[in-house]
């Protein structure tokens, strides 16, 4: 980045050099260690100057009218022309020669008066308020406010204390101090203006009249930035006091964004006196998630302590699973593996950590097998990510004018919501966002151009961009920075491979590789989809196993039957299946000979590699469930039984081995991964910042390390051949079925989060209105969709964006699984 121009400003008599154009509140904080108190100002949003808390004295040097020289007084000091009234610091940007006073009586008086005014109608229910202890109003009142009130209690305005704004957020109207941070967050950052003020004066309230109410995927963030306890989540409401909890750094276990989070733990009665997750809070990482997290991350943590968890090793005897000791279970598994003569397959889900992947691989490799399958088999092209993935130093938050983000075949809001949030903001800053999909998706609302292609033909569209979309081709060519983001919606595995290759080719041809903010991204499912590739697992191997099933199959953290009903056919042919699982699923119920209970991300240490190849650490937070163990440890112990060497004592030791053996992870020990540096805005950790940026927590767990791509390292990368796949064609009376992703679904882990239940959609399918008319279907009708030998019943939604001749069928909403990849099938009204 070019050197920023510096200007000199004087705060309380001392001169500081600060970057030109910076907001005065930020500049004072960052460079002069002067914390100007604020309520409505937030460093991530445009200033509005509503709360008047940041009033300061401001002036400019007096100049002689004739000579334009700066006038000095007798003592030789610059004579300052102070403005007659106080100014709001948040609406000022610094300019050269600006003079500020923040410690004068006038300023102290103003702060005192603003606080007294806010407190005239603020209920003093701090002892039962969720925000008490991390409340901006409390902190600032202690620092600047009046010690006594001049108001009589009966003069307070009383408003409703329990107003549900949606299913997840509850508003206490009388605590609200009308800063509009939540309204502005929804409008500016999310782009979903479902909150607004109603009436005025003392009866001013936050309302939503939208249908459904306040249900965006980011609603929980408003409770973080709310400076008082007006907004609370149904999950944490009256759950604990802030000072009782310990913050443990962790990583979002759901998607490729790898949002940094904090698990706020308390020794809890409801969990046998052990450490339990009371709430999930964002942890600042300006490269990854800034200070935001999606509601799925915030509210989806209940599975870690669910009753349904498998708590002891299980062994199948006469068709029934019985609890056994670890020794017996591991002896049995070791025996089975030894007897397999190397005819062993391993399939690991995308939620397993790098350590797990490595340790399991050692076991299988040690027995002479190289069959390492990644699950689910929707996304591929890891080798292209390793070649031309987004350059080291990429920050979606820095994209702006002249830059282009091309999104193909992804419903990004449902797949990786944090990316959608950040790309939306890039769009607001002037970046061109081009969205191409077979149907309308939410991202269309924030796109500069939208394109449609025939279902399944994403690679065809992108490979021939000049013809299929000349406008997009032109934008891509002239882009200052270009990121291509692919999804796998409506594609087969081959289809996604071709799309990735076409995207890589385009990046290489236009020279957008090996630089920050340029390159390839993909919405790999799970927290560690990219890590799978780097540790030798590929979806193609999983597919190959279907063609030639191994004698013994190890399935780890992969709910295969829920993802793809067709696997049952080949699983039947496998002699012995060993399952490593957290929760009961189709494999444990019917197929597994032995079930080994594994721990969730909250109970153990580990690392995930996110979609941008950032390797990030998560830490042990929760007490373990029953006899479950970390997956890597089970693998290590199994290795020990098989004579492959002693089990490691910690995840850190496993990571050390990975760093020594896999070039991509070179130098990545746990110490390097836990390094932090100062970030702006300066967030969290001390009471002087709750009012500034909210309760998002300071990053103490590490910013992670990015694996460099081949292009980053200066290696030559070459375009490859795009193998365009055959696209399923619907015959007469048939429909093309496009499986899609929903963020809120009924996957085994997520459905255990009771607070989100009301927000999970009733199973539905989008049908084009023309097709619906032909079949006599209207919205809400139950339809049966049959494909690949299975069928599901769902409600029809005719208003959606399904293209003619196809049906968009969300996965993981129904109990019976739906197809994983694009296919053809029948639709009939029930």
């Amino acid at each position: 980045m070019a050197e920023q121009k510096l200007v000199t400003i004087t705060i309380d008599g001392k001169a500081y050099q600060v970057p030109a154009g910076e907001n005065l509140v930020d500049a004072a904080r960052n460079h002069a260690d002067n914390q100007i108190p604020v309520f409505c100002y937030h460093p991530k949003m445009a200033p509005v100057g509503m709360c008047r808390m940041c009033l300061v004295e401001m002036g400019t040097p007096e100049r002689d009218p004739n000579t334009r020289e700066i006038v000095h007084d007798e003592d030789g000091n610059v004579k300052v022309r102070w403005m007659p009234k106080l100014q709001t610091a948040c609406t000022q940007t610094v300019s050269d020669g600006m003079y500020i006073r923040t410690t004068t009586d006038q300023v102290a008086d103003a702060r005192n008066n603003v606080l007294e005014f806010l407190l005239t109608s603020h209920p003093l229910d701090c002892p039962v308020c969720d925000k008490g202890g991390e409340c901006a109003l409390q902190d600032l009142t202690m620092a600047h406010g009046p010690g006594k009130t001049r108001m009589v209690f009966s003069e307070k305005m009383h408003l409703d204390k329990i107003v549900p704004l949606g299913d997840l957020i509850v508003l206490d109207e009388e605590r609200c101090i009308q800063c509009a941070r939540c309204i502005r967050f929804q409008d500016e950052i999310v782009g979903d203006d479902v909150l607004a003020f109603h009436e005025r004066g003392r009866t001013l309230r936050i309302i939503t009249k939208s249908d459904p109410g306040f249900d965006t995927y980011f609603s929980g963030n408003t409770t973080d930035i709310c400076p008082v306890g007006a907004l609370t989540t149904v999950d944490f409401r009256f759950g604990a006091r802030p000072w009782e909890m310990t913050s443990v750094p962790s990583i979002d276990p759901w998607d490729a964004a790898g949002s940094n989070i904090s698990l706020d733990m308390r020794l809890d009665r409801d969990f046998g006196g052990r450490a339990m997750i009371k709430r999930v809070m964002p942890r600042q990482n300006e490269w990854v998630n800034e200070i935001w997290i999606s509601d799925k991350v915030r509210f989806g943590h209940h599975f870690t302590r669910a009753e349904e968890r498998i708590c002891a090793p299980l062994l199948r005897n006469n068709g029934n699973l019985n609890e056994v000791s670890w020794t017996e279970a591991l002896d049995t598994v070791a025996g089975v593996l030894k007897a397999a003569n190397g005819d062993i397959g391993l399939i690991v889900g995308s939620g397993a950590s790098n350590e797990d992947l490595w340790a399991l691989r050692q076991v299988v490799n040690g027995l002479g097998s190289e069959r390492l399958g990644a699950w689910p088999v929707t996304h591929t092209g890891g080798e292209l990510i390793a070649q031309v993935g987004v350059g080291k130093g990429t920050n979606l938050g820095k994209l702006g004018k002249g830059d282009v983000v091309l999104i193909v075949a992804s419903d990004i809001e449902e797949e990786v919501p944090i990316w959608r949030l950040r790309i939306k903001q890039a769009h607001d800053r002037g970046a061109a966002v081009i969205v191409a999909n077979a149907r309308k998706t939410r991202m269309d609302d924030f796109a500069s151009h939208t394109f449609r292609y025939e279902a399944g033909k994403a690679a065809h569209w992108l490979a021939d961009l000049k013809k299929s979309a000349p406008e997009a081709a032109e934008a891509v060519k002239s882009a200052a920075n270009l990121i291509i983001l692919t999804g796998a919606e409506g594609l087969t595995l081959e289809g996604h491979a071709a799309l990735m290759q076409a995207a890589a080719n385009l990046l290489i041809e236009t020279g957008h590789v090996g630089k920050p903010n340029n390159g390839l991204l993909s919405t790999f499912p799970g927290a560690n989809g990219v890590g799978q590739y780097y540790l030798g697992y590929t979806p193609e191997q999983s597919v190959a196993m279907a063609a030639k099933p191994p004698k013994v199959l190890l399935v780890a953290q992969a709910d295969m039957l829920a993802d793809d009903p067709s696997v049952a056919a080949w699983l039947d042919k496998v002699e012995t299946i060993i399952s490593f699982s957290m929760l009961p699923d189709g494999i444990t119920a019917k197929f597994a000979k032995v079930v080994l209970p594994i721990q969730s991300f909250a109970e153990r240490d580990g690392t995930f590699t996110n979609g941008e190849r950032r390797v990030q650490r998560f830490y042990t937070a929760q007490g373990p469930m029953g006899w479950s163990l970390p997956l890597w440890q089970i693998a290590n112990r199994l290795g020990e039984k098989l004579g492959q060497g002693k089990a490691k004592l910690s995840a850190a030791a496993v990571m050390k081995e990975i760093a020594a053996s896999v070039p991509a992870f070179e130098g990545m020990d746990y110490r390097a991964l836990s390094k932090v540096e100062k970030q702006y805005p300066d967030v969290g950790g001390a009471s002087d910042s709750y009012y500034y940026s909210g309760t998002a927590c300071k990053n103490t767990g590490g910013l992670g390390v990015v694996i460099p791509t081949a292009a980053d390292k200066g290696e030559t990368v070459k375009a490859g051949e795009v193998k365009l796949p055959a696209v399923p064609k619907a015959g007469k009376g048939e429909f093309v079925i496009i499986p899609s992703t929903r963020l809120y679904n009924r996957e085994a882990q997520f459905k255990l989060s009771t607070v989100v239940h009301p927000r999970v959609m009733v199973p539905f399918a989008e049908i084009n209105s023309a097709d619906a008319a032909k079949l006599g279907i209207t919205s809400g009708d139950v339809v049966q969709i049959s494909a690949n030998g299975g069928s599901v019943r769902v409600r029809a939604n005719v208003n959606g964006g399904a293209p003619e001749g196809s049906v968009v069928l969300p996965r993981h909403l129904t109990d019976e699984p739906v197809p994983m990849a694009i296919t053809v099938g029948q639709v009939s009204k029930v």
Binding site: A196, F197, S210, D211
Partner: protein, 166 residues
């Protein structure tokens, strides 16, 4: 097509034509909705939101900020009496009181037949013509109860005539 679009297609079109974008027309459209439903009802908010392509929350917010949009059901005739000091000196306070008594309503209340809502308001900018009231945003000046009774009967008759016709 919602009720508003069906019934007031022409007026909506001319209103929208006055503004550079649809969003700007929201206040003018809210008056149409108020006319149709008698108040800014949830249906009215929804209709206007659809016409201006806005979120209903934002429309509601605007309706809530301005006092000339009524967010409660009102009688067919919305009588607003100014009782500020200059008017009060000319007997507006008594007039307001008598009017309520005559119609048998409390402040802000609606007469039993759903015909009249009486409300006191701040300055209507016609102090010299007090006592005065605004009925559905038209001024009626130099009033006393005698004149008022005539007006009330007249309005009632108008409505009854309309009802009988249809």
């Amino acid at each position: 097509m919602n009720t508003l679009q069906e019934k007031y297609a022409d007026r909506i079109e001319t209103t929208l034509a006055k503004y550079p974008d649809k969003r700007s027309a929201v206040m003018a459209l809210l008056y149409i909705a108020q006319e149709e439903y008698g108040w800014v009802s949830p249906e009215g908010i929804q209709d206007v939101a659809e016409v201006c392509d806005m979120d209903p929350t934002q429309v509601k917010s605007i309706a809530g900020f301005y006092t000339m949009y009524s967010e409660r059901p009102k009688g067919r005739f919305w009588l607003q009496v100014c009782t500020d000091l200059p008017c009060a000196l000319k007997g507006a306070e008594k007039f307001h009181h008598d009017l309520k008594e005559y119609l048998g309503v409390d402040e802000g209340g609606t007469s039993e037949d759903g015909m009249f809502t009486v409300e006191h308001v701040m300055c209507l900018a016609a102090c010299d013509k007090a006592p005065l009231l605004q009925c559905n945003f038209h001024n009626y000046e130099h009033l006393d109860m005698e004149k008022m009774k005539v007006l009330l009967d007249q309005w009632r008759a108008e409505v009854n005539a309309q009802v009988n016709k249809s």
